[in-house]
Symmetry: C3
């Protein structure tokens, strides 16, 4: 067996992953440190298998249902890649972004699409208080269906972005940082600036900044959340970040100064988002069917955004980071000055310098998703990986 | 080999299924009793294989084409599940619901999509006289293509709902009834009420009531078709039901009273549909491109519908069934009072009490479709099942 | 091993195909004669494998990305069939036909969809100077991504139709001609008329006539390109055709007379296309966002088209071909007089007489695409084919 794979198997040995079997992955802070380490390790191991041209098919047939309630190309392809790599066929369910389904309908639809579904990936990030709730409704429905003998297996859920968290993105970001730093030990005491940045577009989801502070506060990092006044994220997630930072020997603090956040930072993550309170208001307007109100709110928010065009990741700001060489992070696509918009989140020269690490960062996502599925569908993930390695079946026939 | 599987193989031994090989499945009444028993038995056997985590892949590659001329989530997922379970990849062809294709176009398109297609599933239920006809045109075209050396194999057709019948639905309903009753013998003499019910929506297809009376009249049941005056189904199908009922030792009759149909019924299937004559008229208006006429007809039909809001499956009516405990059936989604509409087909408390059996009923559909494909693609289905059981290849790797 | 397969392996032995490994297939005239012979031979061999019910899966998992920037059913199905036959799952990326992406966006998207992509099939034929350029941008981006360690493999590109060439179509046409004639030797000196024909629709791509003259001029044929004045194709492609004809011992000439082109022709390919100069103008108008200008141009072109309704493949014209029996070719769908339009490219009786060979012609396309993928993904295609034949794994389980 490839030496590199043995190393991953060794790592897995020490981790308590039993509770992941048959469970959903909805919020990173619902998972233990061991479980997150399990995701990272299995993601790396699956990537290694692929490099070695070894098949990782743990399914001979089965469906991965992708349920997107918002447009998406990247996440869709990441989910499709992960499913395919493990042997599942993807079946899309597009409900349209405007439809907020209710109780009984969710229960019924969830069962009707799950007769042969092993995994359901859901993206639903448009309305505060809805996305994650919806996922839990789906999960409850299919578990009930399994118990009632309706389903022959219970499909596990993967949160592909909700109103609260974006676990597949943030774990990919984190794995990128871990591999760049050479392990978790080297991250302790390092500073990460999760900062708001200006974008001419409207209503970008809060799930990335929330996911980042909700995850990265667990690694002994100095986490700084920066944004203009009024662009607060969900207070519950801040609370979680605060507690986790304390427990991990790191810190979490907020500032309204981008400069302060960038100063001596090792990692910077400048990205636009909409104010939490405004998103809550939009959700209420939506529920009330108040189209005029939504338009007015949008106009107001764009005007407010425009007051903060100075929140941009410039070369000048980058120079103030640790040795002027902080690792620039982004979930992509970024709003790049003079490229995708006139004024945006980042100067073109900064973005361009980090293009390769950014793409590398994104490249972890399919493996993170595959690892989540793997851990939810394999009772003994270490043994299953070993079996795959010994089976040594070629992914791509090369006689 | 699992004992339970042997039982199915025994059952198959006595059945004459030879004529199903390479044949389409378009109308249940074109199939012999043996052939229907074959579908039920193979559906149960495939479900058993899945429970036992045994792969049912009879295809290593190949396409299942899904050709939907009407929106559908449930049937689409059932077809996709069935194809995937047998090893076929699904390729969708969406022609849009408004396009009624003609002769030469059908012939050409049918061949162009079939170079590597093993199965074509078609749903085309919108226009009277069109859907089933279209399926037969497609079938003729691909058989000609095979004969001419254009195609390397002939794709078999599965009717996923047409203007006349809905065989995958009705056979799933029937298998549910058979398994609930503990076998065909226990159904003899039982009463089933296929009745119209009020819905605020317009133009629901006739294929379910027609499919139900065209199938269930073969099992020695007392079949009662109930609807308000003017909501007649196709007379040809009534004729078939009448004849089959006579042959099977059961009965078929019609009534305009929902109460009469429900009285002492063992099974009730209350469901809205549009009057056959009105649907014929709509088809003519459509062919003439008379948009105004269609709108006027729709208004007229909705007004007519509204006169029959008392056709609802109430608790009161349910009490009049056999011991007040008839099995409530529906193809889903149902129009539920106070849930999906104000007044609809069924009271919420009735629906809720039967939720689990309803979902179970629906869960047979992917297996019924898989069985249809299996029987059309396996020259010796019994032997193929035995080979699958002996191969004992895991669907989901569990070391 | 089947005797017929050995024959193909023998043929491959003499061909130099080494440079096809890991390479794109964008224009036929970028490929050597050996490489085209390789595509034909592998296409025939894969078809033979399928006839023999032998699996051609060289992938256990992996994605074939289909990136269509224009509507398509036939090409989509051909690509999906080819991918599936080799073991790849298809993942669609629909960018919409109106979006002309630019540099950085292309680079990023290309990488984001390619983490587990083995092949990318692109159709982008709408704007002169754009489609092929776009393909090269995508190719460059993913090769850079591979080099930067972003991608674990480099996806190869297959041109499914661009503004310049339509290689999968034209190679399918050619293989049809080769198999009808019984080999390349029998084509030498034969005459093919690639002629414009009237269509009531507007702006059909130039890729077919260009692809035909750019390919068929390599086989010692007498190639005649006929069209009304003003319907010129790209001069660069004419130049290539001229040079290749000279080198192959054939000829290439142009005429403005359909009758002259048809006279004593062995093959006729009458098909509508838009004038190159007008398509360039449309591209400029599009780039300038001049919607009114586009409408005006369209009107002008339809009026110009209407002046050439006499350019139709009639029975009368067919009689003037070699013994009145030239092989009629078309990429389908054709505009057939009295069937798909009032006046069009071909008389119904002509089309009808050639229906079976036309369908057969189309049936080569999935195998041509599969051969392109096979040759790009197999370092030693001959050995891989031999391994597949020896493995003799059933595509469709037939115990």
């Amino acid at each position: 067996m490839a030496k590199k794979l043995l190393e991953y198997l060794e790592k897995l040995k020490g981790l308590d992953l039993g509770a992941m079997y048959n469970e959903d992955f909805l919020l990173t802070w619902e998972k233990t440190d061991d479980e997150l380490a399990g995701v990272f390790t299995v993601a790396d191991a699956l990537r290694r298998l692929r490099e070695l041209n070894i098949s990782a098919r743990i399914f001979d047939s089965g469906l991965g249902v992708s349920l997107f309630r918002d447009n998406s190309t990247r996440t869709r392809f990441s989910f499709a890649s992960a499913c395919n790599f493990l042997g599942l066929a993807v079946q899309d369910l597009d409900e349209g972004k405007s439809q907020i389904a209710h109780g009984e309908t969710v229960r019924e639809t969830a069962n009707m699409i799950s007769f042969m579904a092993d995994v359901i990936g859901i993206r639903d990030d448009m309305y505060i208080g809805k996305g994650n709730t919806y996922m839990r409704e789906v999960s409850k429905a299919v578990r009930q269906g399994r118990q009632d003998g309706v389903l022959e297996q219970v499909p596990v859920l993967v949160n592909l972005q909700c109103d609260i968290d974006h676990p597949t993105q943030c774990l990919a970001d984190m794995l990128h940082m871990l591999n760049q730093a050479g392990g978790a030990e080297n991250l302790k005491g390092k500073k990460i600036a999760m900062t708001w940045a200006y974008s001419p577009s409207y209503g970008k989801p809060l799930s990335v900044p929330q996911g980042v502070i909700g995850l990265m506060s667990r690694f002994g990092l100095e986490v700084v959340l920066a944004h203009p006044e009024g662009y607060e994220v969900m207070p519950e997630v801040e609370e979680i970040a605060r507690k986790q930072a304390r427990d991990s020997g790191g810190s979490f603090r907020k500032t309204n100064s981008m400069a302060e956040a960038f100063a001596e930072a090792d990692f910077v993550y400048p990205k636009s988002w909409a104010p939490f309170a405004a998103m809550e208001k939009r959700t209420d307007l939506y529920a009330a069917g108040d189209g005029e109100g939504i338009k007015a709110l949008e106009k107001e928010l764009l005007a407010e955004n425009a007051r903060h065009q100075d929140w941009c990741c410039t070369e000048e700001l980058m120079k103030t980071t640790r040795e002027g060489r902080a690792l620039y992070l982004h979930c992509l696509p970024a709003d790049i000055n003079g490229i995708s918009c006139r004024e945006g989140e980042v100067e073109a020269s900064v973005f361009d310098r980090y293009r390769t690490p950014l793409y590398k960062q994104a490249s972890y996502k399919p493996y993170i998703i595959a690892a989540m599925i793997f851990l939810a569908k394999c009772k003994d993930p270490q043994k299953t990986l070993a079996v795959l390695a010994e089976r040594d079946s070629q992914r791509w026939l090369r006689p």
